[in-house]
Symmetry: C2
Subunit: 410 residues, 2 copies
């Protein structure tokens, strides 16, 4: 009778007054951001706090310059009604999307207005440290051109594809750039007087998608970037999922082929990224042309197979080229297989497919979606929705500006 | 300038006084469960509340009969010191593990003492409803034999392998039993006067593992059951992860072979469960013997290949049989591949491997572990630990008794 079963259902969730106050302030800010202009009583109802509590928080937010109170004539009585809105004058955020070809910078105010944009070719710069200088220079230029007081810039978030260590903001490995073990956040902190974040491009994309669909806030959402590389971002219970070391969601390195000898940038073989990314499609097509394969791509490239990109493969397929069609079909199947695995493991409400490969017509999306739904465990009776995300080029930069909480860390 | 980026970082986490009180009570109970006997000041320190707050909560818990106060002589002053412990007299929980061969029932008190056990062969009963009757009869018998007042039984949790719908406690699909769409929780509620839960065996196993390693409470842990079937349970941020419909963690249905024609119970081909489970090993060995393959297993089964189990395959391998060794090596590789995928997507701190296949010696575990670590994305520099879980036969039943929160739903 001395045997014991330890009963443990959860961690101690320490919630003291300070934490509760922080959470309430964040909720009020979120509420004003989504519904403002909105009056205090309506906020109280939405966030589940008393009107006096909202009045106290609102006063604090007004004094901080984050919120402004606007008098509007009441509809019936004519008595002026006070409404709260976010104030765009004092807190601005910079989002930087370091893409393979182009680096995009965006300045966004707390009240969500876009204040400025800037872009430059990523390839101009040779070494990592020099490139970080170029980013910082771009940020200064963006702020100056937007005629914004630098003192009102509250944070800058730089995103790039690859593995980012969550705690330190180091770039562990970014295959597109050949970067390994670069202390990116440290370098940025040394050069810029702002709060700094470094994040993977796929997580920024995921946050952009969630914020574009307010209904997704309470959902479990996986966002997949299908471009030159392949990666993911996972949003669950109101926040991004990171995992133990911040290197979760590496859907590009799921093994989708057990016999392929295609070497992936990660060193393994058979990874989704090595089989079905934009880079993989281009590489496979180039190789086939060099080997004398009978395909339209041979004529298209006029003897320069190195010029073939994934885009060309889709063009050839649309013109009826069997080889290109087979390549794309195989890629769709591999992506579908990796999505099925993701569904079986994570059981999300929604999956968004984003990235350059989706820009080649709805047909490709439909094939991927059908393979995914067919290969996931059917009996589970899940209602997962698979959708295309927004393909607009500024998404990742926009998402990056949204990664700062109003108060506190995280 | 009218363009807008919606800034949304999280859901409104509504925390009112009632929820906070509930959370504090749960924390105090967890603390007494883990450290009791413990005095009020020590609890206050551990859970981060004031001593008066703890005194108030403790008073309530004592009145409910969940906690008892014990006077112990103080070490220095001799003045009696009041310590709190969980009280085993008023709240008991039944855990039921419906296994393929054996159903195990266990009665555990709130203070974690095991009060009784019972088992019966699962195969005795023909139809689903009759089997549920058999479970209920077993629960009554267990309570009577343990000489426990039925009024003190606070809940019963029935676990089985398969897909369980989280909200309703329906068995969506349990391939081992051929059950589809069985309203198991409803049937139990109609027959038993206790709070009822239905859960997948793998989640109960996961909770058992976490509770056996208190350090895991704040960790991200994936627990894999490798037996006749293959499934998983995922524990993250202090609780089990369910996904949108409760059908997450289906690691057995990750596609590990892109060319195999082995048909899985789920209808697809190439699933981990169809390639590397105990059932798959037995089936592959049986087929090989029937086809006249040169293997020790042919002699071992004495003309009755249907009798071959996974255990026999391991025995033959230990005796040097090449065919059996190759089967096991291939299974280890497939399991390693699925674990690598899980690591790439979820980035857990720890993975526990449990279930019957692990009972065949450390060598198999080591192979699986090596394949997993080799196939996951190496550059991520993760520190994931892969360990064997406990292989004791009562784990799942014990885990089931731990699935009730002290207060509230969940």
């Amino acid at each position: 009778m001395k045997e014991r079963a330890v009963r443990i259902l959860g961690t101690y969730r320490r919630m003291d007054k300070h934490k509760m106050a922080l959470m309430n302030k964040r909720n009020v800010m979120d509420c004003i951001a989504e519904y403002g202009p909105i009056n205090r009583a309506a906020i109280a109802k939405k966030v589940g706090l008393s009107v006096p509590a909202i009045m106290e928080i609102a006063e604090e937010l007004i004094q901080l310059g984050m919120v402004e109170s606007v008098r509007m004539p009441g509809k019936l009585s004519g008595k002026p009604l006070e409404q709260l809105s976010l104030c765009g004058d004092h807190f601005r955020y910079v989002g930087v999307d370091v893409g393979r070809e182009t680096t995009r910078l965006m300045l966004v105010a707390l009240d969500r207005k876009v204040l400025g944009r800037l872009r430059f070719p990523t390839r101009q710069v040779e070494n990592e440290s020099g490139f970080v200088d170029r980013i910082c220079q771009g940020i200064h230029q963006l702020i100056a051109e937007s005629q914004v007081d630098p003192a009102t810039v509250a944070g800058a978030c730089v995103t790039m594809p690859g593995l980012i260590e969550q705690d330190t903001g180091r770039v562990i490995f970014s295959p597109n750039f050949g970067w390994r073990d670069i202390p990116l956040r440290d370098w940025l902190v040394q050069r810029l007087p702002y709060r700094i974040k470094v994040e993977s491009a796929n997580r920024a994309q995921a946050i952009y998608e969630i914020s574009s669909h307010p209904g997704d806030r309470d959902r479990t959402v996986f966002c997949v970037g299908l471009g030159y590389g392949i990666g993911g971002g996972f949003y669950e219970k109101g926040q991004l999922y990171y995992g133990a070391s911040g290197t979760s969601c590496e859907i590009g390195h799921i093994r989708v082929s057990s016999y392929s000898k295609e070497r992936c940038t990660c060193g393994n073989t058979g990874c989704l990224e090595a089989e079905a990314s934009g880079a993989a499609l281009a590489r496979k097509a180039q190789r086939a042309v060099r080997q004398g394969k009978d395909t339209l791509l041979a004529a298209m490239c006029q003897g320069e197979p190195d010029k073939i990109t994934a885009r060309w493969v889709f063009d050839a397929a649309h013109q009826g080229d069997f080889f290109a069609q087979a390549l794309i079909e195989q890629a769709a199947q591999h992506i579908g297989s990796a999505l099925a695995t993701t569904i079986n493991l994570l059981d999300p409400d929604k999956i968004y497919l984003c990235g350059g490969l989706l820009k080649n017509g709805d047909d490709f999306f439909q094939r991927v979606k059908n393979y995914a739904l067919e290969m996931q465990m059917d009996q589970a009776g899940r209602r997962v929705e698979i959708l295309t995300g927004s393909l607009e080029e500024w998404n990742v930069a926009m998402g990056a500006t949204q990664l700062f909480p109003y108060f506190g860390e995280g």
